[in-house]
């Protein structure tokens, strides 16, 4: 349960960062969303053994994070949360692809290890880009941007409600677990039967809470569609999006790290 609390705190902290970022002024959330999407698509589009050529993509989340003043520990915490899944996906590659792909300082490196590192890098780029995007806009603003980009209402609304209910569910689970711990005595871990009872109660209480939340929204005129305040697209947003898209195309078409390395070597010789 401590992990759940931790994850929810991370989300709350992201909201705080987003509020600050919006107050300081950010590009239009649609530009940020499209830019982030372009970055992730570029990362995914590389051949599966690519490693070095992926590195320049980290510039985009880095720039967003710096602009939003996203604390480094939040990025680290979120990457750690995603790490088990990424490791599980990539861990079998070194076992399955054993042929040597390159020699690194005389040490043979198998194709499996290359694809494993590539998966790690792609996941890092994707997670940190998403994180920086949410930290720059905030989830409700992001959902509004999706609506304005004509993403089906069902999807943006689901995302928005999911985000809202996540906190309600997390708070409920946390309260129940605290109540259990206070009467757990010498049994710090719940038994299977206790887990069953807790989960059953959590489901019932969550449904009840979700109903109250929904009623509170209905009472303020919610009719099933998101309030979608107008956004203003400026020339600077076009420049932002065009600039980053050009950069992603360059990263994809040219192997920038190799070119940079060659240029440096030429300079040195």
């Amino acid at each position: 349960m401590a992990r759940l609390d931790h994850a929810l705190q991370t989300l709350r902290a992201l909201d705080d960062v987003a509020a600050g970022a919006r107050n300081r002024g950010q590009p239009d959330p649609r530009a940020l969303l499209l830019g982030a999407l372009a970055c992730i698509v570029t990362a995914v589009s590389f051949e599966r053994h690519t490693v070095a050529a992926l590195l320049p993509l980290a510039l985009f989340p880095l720039a967003l994070a710096i602009r939003a003043q996203l604390p480094w520990r939040l990025i680290k915490r979120t990457l750690m949360l995603a790490a088990p899944l990424v490791l599980m996906v990539g861990l079998f590659n070194p076992l399955l692809e054993r042929e040597t792909a390159l020699l690194l300082g005389g040490v043979p490196v198998s194709a499996g290890w290359l694809s494993f590192v590539s998966i790690l890098l792609r996941a890092t780029v994707a997670v940190s880009t998403t994180l920086a995007l949410v930290a720059s806009t905030g989830m409700p603003v992001l959902c509004n941007a999706m609506t304005r980009l004509h993403v089906p209402q069902a999807l943006s609304l689901q995302l928005w409600l999911l985000y809202r209910y996540l906190f309600a569910l997390g708070a409920e689970a946390s309260r129940m677990d605290t109540a259990r711990q206070l009467r757990a005595g010498a049994q710090p871990r719940p038994s299977l039967a206790t887990w069953g009872a807790l989960l059953g109660q959590l489901l019932l209480r969550s449904v009840d809470r979700a109903q109250r939340l929904h009623q509170a929204m209905l009472a303020r005129g919610f009719t099933g569609s998101l309030p979608s305040p107008a956004l203003r697209w400026r020339m600077a947003d076009s420049v932002f999006l065009a600039g980053w898209c050009s950069y992603f195309i360059a990263v994809r078409m040219l192997d920038l790290p190799t070119l940079l390395g060659q240029a440096l070597l030429r300079g040195l010789t």
Partner: protein
């Protein structure tokens, strides 16, 4: 304010499992009147309140706000007229900042941005929370959350303000601010509460509910001084009246 009359006629409501919650309630509340609905737990207070803006629809009988009857087809119009403040402010506040949360209702009403902004400012000013506009709702204290929840409803300019346990969980200072706020409201006010001292300070009229039916309906001072009636309905006279009685 001339609009905001509430009329309940033969109102019955059964929960889906068949449990009767309201057993034929007749009530008329005049525009601008402050009415407290009191009663023991399970008396039907909250169920009654939820009928006023169609969050629950009657099993039988009628609910009308002015000439408009509450039904599935009139829900949008009814919810513009009746604002509902929930017992737990956390149920109500969910947008990333206070001002965006207060703007949620007016935006749903389809108002132009300038009008939304003006209403948000006015509502926050009215509840004394203008300084909280850019704060995140989950960072606020209980009293601040309650004030912002009320502002979120006031921004919709309702004719009827419905409040479920408005003083629950408030410290004395926040409770006093709430009393001043409610006293200054010109709308028709209907509140369900166990805080009978709050009732004395803010409502002219009291409706006592017991087992889903109205047991008494009259001036607050008179009803709340009727100790046998209150005892029958699982209630006690408010502390301020008891103290006054003792000091005589």
């Amino acid at each position: 304010m001339n609009a905001g009359a509430v009329r309940l006629k033969g109102l019955r409501f059964d929960y889906p499992d068949g449990t009767p919650a309201l057993r034929g309630v007749d009530l008329h509340i005049s525009p601008g009147e402050g009415v407290a609905v009191i009663g023991a737990n399970g008396a039907g207070k909250s169920t009654l309140l939820l009928q006023l803006n169609g969050l629950l629809l009657p099993t039988a009988g009628q609910v009308a706000i002015d000439e408009l009857q509450v039904s599935r087809t009139t829900l949008a119009a009814i919810r513009q007229r009746v604002g509902y403040v929930f017992q737990d402010a956390d149920d109500q506040l969910f947008m990333p900042s206070v001002e965006e949360d207060v703007a949620f209702g007016p935006r749903n009403q389809g108002l132009p941005p300038a009008e939304v902004q003006q209403r948000v400012q006015a509502a926050l000013q009215q509840v004394g929370a203008l300084h909280l506009a850019t704060r995140a709702p989950w960072r606020l204290s209980g009293g601040e959350k309650r004030a912002v929840a009320i502002a979120g409803v006031l921004a919709m300019r309702p004719q009827v303000l419905v409040l479920d346990e408005p003083s629950a969980g408030l410290d004395p200072a926040a409770r006093r601010r709430l009393i001043h706020l409610l006293q200054a409201c010109v709308q028709t006010r209907v509140m369900a509460t166990h805080d009978l001292d709050l009732v004395l300070d803010t409502c002219q009229r009291v409706v006592v509910m017991h087992q889903g039916a109205v047991q008494a309906d009259g001036p607050a001072q008179q009803v709340l001084a009727d100790a046998p009636l209150l005892a029958r309905c699982g209630l006690e006279p408010p502390l301020s009246l008891s103290v006054r009685e003792t000091s005589r």
